[in-house]
């Protein structure tokens, strides 16, 4: 049967979030209306979580004007999830160790994309790709029985795909020094992180995948042991080393 399919771009978070949604159960207008709901949610996330908006709750939290207990349930949830991510990465991902204070940006993208997937699924959308600045959350494959094929681009040659992953459900996040320059700090040393040039992590949860990718940029191969943890059993990584064109994967 033919799938109803809607693709949309949502301009927010200083970037563009690309949504590809299709369904054999609901119509295009119904998918569109579900995407409208997601758009509102993502705008709201930007209002609450942006570190660029002076009056966002995160900005006010960073300035110490409000306490976490004063914040929205979503922000409190992300705060708690960030604490878990910090713990599970043994501190290699640490949103509190950022200039200017708590910055959940490295977690929120994946978290919000996962939430968007939940919203779309609840509305009857069956096949979903949400691509927020290169971190993707996926559900249901591209069509029945066919996973999403996701290419990972080369860290320096922006137009070369170096690896393809087939994913039906889950999230895939890539962290590197290329997206916004060297923007990840090593929480242990305060120095620019140099563990890897590019780290791709895929697994069930977008926020955790995001956090783990960041952790691997910080820790490099020293972070490989994290994937031995039982709670991270569903996660895998593909990492390009800092020097030489070598990659390792788990």
């Amino acid at each position: 049967m033919t799938l109803a399919r809607v693709r949309a771009e949502i301009h927010t978070w200083g970037t563009v979030i690309f949504i590809d949604a299709s369904s054999g159960k609901i119509s295009e207008p119904q998918i569109q209306s579900a995407i409208d709901g997601v758009r509102d949610f993502l705008y709201e996330v930007d209002e609450v979580f942006s570190t660029y908006k002076e009056n966002s709750q995160v900005s006010r939290l960073r300035r110490g004007e409000i306490a976490i207990t004063d914040c929205t349930p979503d922000l409190q949830e992300v705060w708690a999830l960030c604490a878990y991510a910090k713990e599970v990465t043994d501190g290699s991902f640490d949103p509190w160790c950022v200039e200017g204070g708590f910055d959940p940006s490295g977690y929120v993208k994946g978290w919000a994309s996962d939430r968007a997937i939940t919203m779309l699924k609840a509305a009857g959308v069956e096949h979903i790709q949400i691509n927020s600045a290169g971190d993707l959350s996926l559900a249901g494959g591209v069509e029945p029985g066919k996973p999403w094929s996701i290419g990972i681009r080369h860290p320096e040659e922006a137009h070369t795909i170096v690896k393809v992953f087939d994913i039906t459900d889950g999230a895939i996040a890539t962290s590197g020094t290329y997206e916004r320059g060297a923007h990840i700090k090593d929480p242990h040393t305060g120095m620019i992180a140099i563990g890897a040039r590019s780290a791709t992590v895929y697994g069930p949860d977008g926020g955790i995948a995001d956090a783990l990718a960041t952790a691997l940029i910080v820790a490099g191969k020293d972070g490989a042991y994290l994937f031995q943890k039982p709670e991270l059993a569903g996660y895998h990584c593909w990492v390009i080393e800092r020097h030489g064109d070598q990659a390792w994967s788990i």
Binding site: E9, T15, V16, I17, F18, D20, Q129, N131, S132, A133, G134, D135, L136, L138, V142, W148, S149, I150, G151, I152, R153, H154, P155, E156, E157, A158, H159, T160, I161, V162, K163, V164, I172, A173, T174, G176, Y178, E179, R180, S198, T200, K221, D222, A224, Y225, F227, Q228, K229, P230, L232, A233, H236, W238, I240, D245, Q246, A247, W248, S249, I250
Partner: protein
């Protein structure tokens, strides 16, 4: 306890590990911009080792003797949980029954809210094998940042639509109507 995990160390070039799509870098410097475009991503480099689509080396990489992390067991298993990327290579099509356009076609310049976008495509037997941005917005730092994200993503979209079986790209995101407009124009010129 979780299942035993293994770490695979694969040697060889990254490109060799699975370059399935290779596109020549865009023509940077169509305006008198600073060198930011090149320094952020190295996108302006002409030293790309990328091979053209269809010449992807086999992904079977030699095993390097790098030291595995503690508790990780190196194995000789050269495959990961993902299929060999070479299987999805946008290989040149076999000689088609009907003549399909081949060559390089340049789309019209399309205005976007960030600036002009112009796309050039290369067709081999009617399949897009490369899509380059001849022009894209790079007037200021912010636009450059957006462009850095935009171009690879747009290239992805173009190729995904026509030649390669990839539906998404990690590490880059942005798309614009301008790209599509210019692309459609280039395709029209190619008679497609």
């Amino acid at each position: 306890m979780g299942a035993k995990r293994v770490m695979l160390i694969a040697g060889g070039t990254i490109g060799g590990l699975g370059a399935v799509l290779s596109i020549t870098p865009p023509q940077f410097g169509t305006t008198s911009s600073s060198g930011l475009g090149g320094t952020l991503l190295g996108g302006g480099s002409t030293t790309s080792t990328a091979s053209t689509a269809g010449t992807t080396p086999a992904p079977a990489a030699t095993q390097a003797a790098s030291t595995p992390a503690p508790a990780a067991t190196a194995t000789k298993k050269a495959t990961t949980t993902t299929p060999a990327p070479s299987a999805t290579t946008a290989a040149p099509a076999p000689a088609p029954a009907k003549a399909k356009p081949s060559g390089t076609f340049t789309g019209s310049t399309s205005q976007t809210r960030f600036g002009p976008v112009q796309v050039q495509i290369t067709l081999v037997n009617g399949k897009i094998t490369a899509a380059n941005a001849l022009q894209y917005p790079n007037n200021d730092f912010r636009s450059q940042q957006i462009s850095q994200q935009a171009i690879p993503y747009l290239v992805q979209e173009t190729l995904a639509a026509n030649s390669a079986d990839i539906q998404g790209v990690g590490g880059a995101s942005y798309t614009s109507q301008g790209w599509y407009d210019s692309l459609v124009s280039a395709l029209a010129k190619a008679g497609m």
